[in-house]
Symmetry: C2
Subunit: 385 residues, 2 copies
């Protein structure tokens, strides 16, 4: 297949920041792209060959969009799966496969899948609703504490609650859910795996999420993780196994816990480019976005190793600020060597909205970490007039 | 000035591959861009906020385009300078300045400028036309051999001829010209200098053009140049001096000769991102395109040092091939670690047309050089059907 400056068209469902960064590589290779997103202001409305405004959840809209392209991919999971299944059955290559998306969209099914495939993960029980969960507690087949997760619809920490007593159950919605054993972990790690149509597979280095000591929020994604080599190798092996188990095509971000006794337990996966891989644009030989493209087009995968140490800091809207965005002190941080802001292209900021990220690269990890803190303490995403 | 996700608009005259690569960084920063190019098929028609088809040489077109933007830059020198001068006189920041463009567009004036500013360059004489040059030869104020250059309009080796005897004068056009002393050089080098509105200035490392031993064509641009440290330092100092002399804002690519006795002589300059800096996208902490943007917007300049060794191979259309382009063996070279093709987005290939380039990066220069040769010997730009 000739992708380069040809009539070939790649379809991307979703036009957010992940799509925007993916488009940067489709432009580099001059591959035609069509983007579908419900918002006329989507960050990906520039840089594609054609932008279509429409719902990602409507069967007809997604189906018609799919009929215009030669390969279809996603940058957001929440899309109409029936349309993808129909398109796939008609012969359109859809990556990741709708089957995998369906499995991943249900956290209960996802956990069952890990168990079936002997992939290490915390113990779990599935419940059709809150009453069934209460019944299990009453029967002593479930004990506090546990982590409650809504089976579907959760996002960025929504739909998750740590339950230590009956008190914590009061405000939970009555939906299909999973109760997971609490994990006493040393580190939260992630590994991005690229797997191509032909089954070529490569992992990126293990990254580490560093949390704020008090706020319990991820502050930095650090590559490579500051962990022992044997732990890193184990994490990469687990991640490879997950990608192979799904027979996944494209990127799979595998989020994991390193327990106090150095087990690696899979937490959950994202079947696409991921926040934990943004550092790769500056730090890696091949960015996660380029490798996603290579994987779904069955091109050879690029080198996933790093040129230099990389740290990523998210830029989220500050509390108490809503309105036209201003990136306070952005010029100050740009004056520091190895600092690159990525501005996603959302005109309006809102509290905690993902507005961009900053990558810090340096040949020396300790120096990168020092600069990352300087960046974190300098830049603020606020509203101007 | 707030450039990021704001109403600020940058204008770019020219929509070729240099503009296309520049747009990648305006997207990264979410800076609005307007592009003007005569071709409806210009590579930069995607990735800008708005594309305008129109002549770069018509006063009215360029003037009206300039009135729509807050800062104006170029990606090609051959634009209507009267319009730029008018826009500048009305207060629009135009970078590079029309004054510098006027000076550089005339190779005779450019050489005079170097002499006036004590910038080392080969000896030269200016002539209004061919008869004046013949007269100088007759009067023995000019001797063979020399390099004849048309004062204006030359591009990529056009408008240049080595004259060893009267025989070589026969087919020269009767235009304003320069006769330059032949330089016996060891190496052709280039240094890209970034200088911002406020005068902050940084040089990229010295790069070396490696020529094919027989064909006398540049095969590889190699960074860093494989030369002694003191020569590299001298070349960077000369390049800095040239940028300062022009009070240049933006990128200036300074092409130089290293003579047999290790003098550095300036050959010519390009007041914009340049082919000799394409390696920087993958190899440098900050690409030349990002630094051009930072310079003209008076943002702090980014680190110009390299993460790894970089080599660039141009992809030009093969002789005997005209028509829809096919990049033969592109998948083969993409299978090699550290190899990134850049496809400029021209649907039709023609002999010697610049269709793209390939960057090879590696921690080890010798390995990068080996891979570059493998790339050069593999990929071919041909026409399909």
């Amino acid at each position: 297949m000739n992708y380069f400056s040809s009539d070939f068209r790649l379809g991307i469902l979703g036009g957010g920041q992940l799509g925007k960064m993916l488009l940067s590589d489709t432009r580099k290779f001059d591959i035609q792209t069509l983007v579908l997103d419900p918002s006329a202001e989507a960050p990906s409305r520039f840089g594609c060959s054609a932008f279509y405004q429409g719902s990602l959840l409507e069967y007809d809209t997604v189906y018609k969009f799919g009929k215009m392209v030669h390969v279809l991919t996603i940058e957001i999971e929440n899309v109409n799966l029936e349309a993808l299944e129909q398109l796939e059955s008609e012969g359109l290559p859809v990556y990741p496969s709708p089957k995998t998306l369906r499995l991943i969209q249900n956290k209960g099914k996802q956990k069952d899948f890990y168990v079936q495939h002997h992939i290490p993960t915390s113990a779990h029980q599935r419940f059709v609703g809150l009453n069934a969960l209460r019944q299990a507690l009453a029967n002593d087949t479930l004990d506090f504490p546990f982590v409650w997760k809504a089976a579907t619809g959760g996002y960025d920490g929504n739909g998750v609650k740590i339950c230590r007593s009956a008190f914590d159950l009061r405000e939970l919605p009555d939906v299909e859910c999973v109760a997971e054993a609490m994990v006493d972990f040393k580190n939260e790690l992630a590994v991005i795996v690229a797997r191509s149509v032909s089954g070529e597979i490569r992992t990126y280095p293990v990254v580490e999420m560093e949390f704020h000591p008090e706020a319990n929020q991820v502050e930095y994604v650090i590559c490579p993780a500051r962990i022992e080599a044997d732990i890193a190798q184990k994490a990469q092996e687990v991640a490879l196994k997950v990608s192979e188990a799904f027979q996944h095509v494209g990127l799979l971000a595998v989020e994991m816990f390193q327990t106090q006794d150095d087990q690696i337990l899979v937490n959950e996966v994202a079947p696409r480019p991921h926040n934990s891989g943004h550092y790769s644009i500056e730090a890696s030989y091949t960015s996660q976005f380029e490798n996603h493209l290579r994987a779904i087009l069955n091109l050879p995968l690029g080198n996933t190793e790093s040129k230099v140490a990389g740290i990523m800091v998210n830029l989220v809207g500050e509390e108490g600020h809503s309105g036209p965005v201003v990136y306070e002190n952005i010029e100050k941080i740009m004056a520091i060597d190895g600092v690159t802001p990525h501005i996603y292209g959302k005109r309006e900021t809102r509290p905690f909205r993902k507005m961009g990220h900053v990558t810090i690269v340096n040949a020396n990890m300790a120096e990168a970490r020092r600069v990352a803190e300087e960046v974190k303490n300098s830049i603020r995403v606020i509203s101007g007039q």
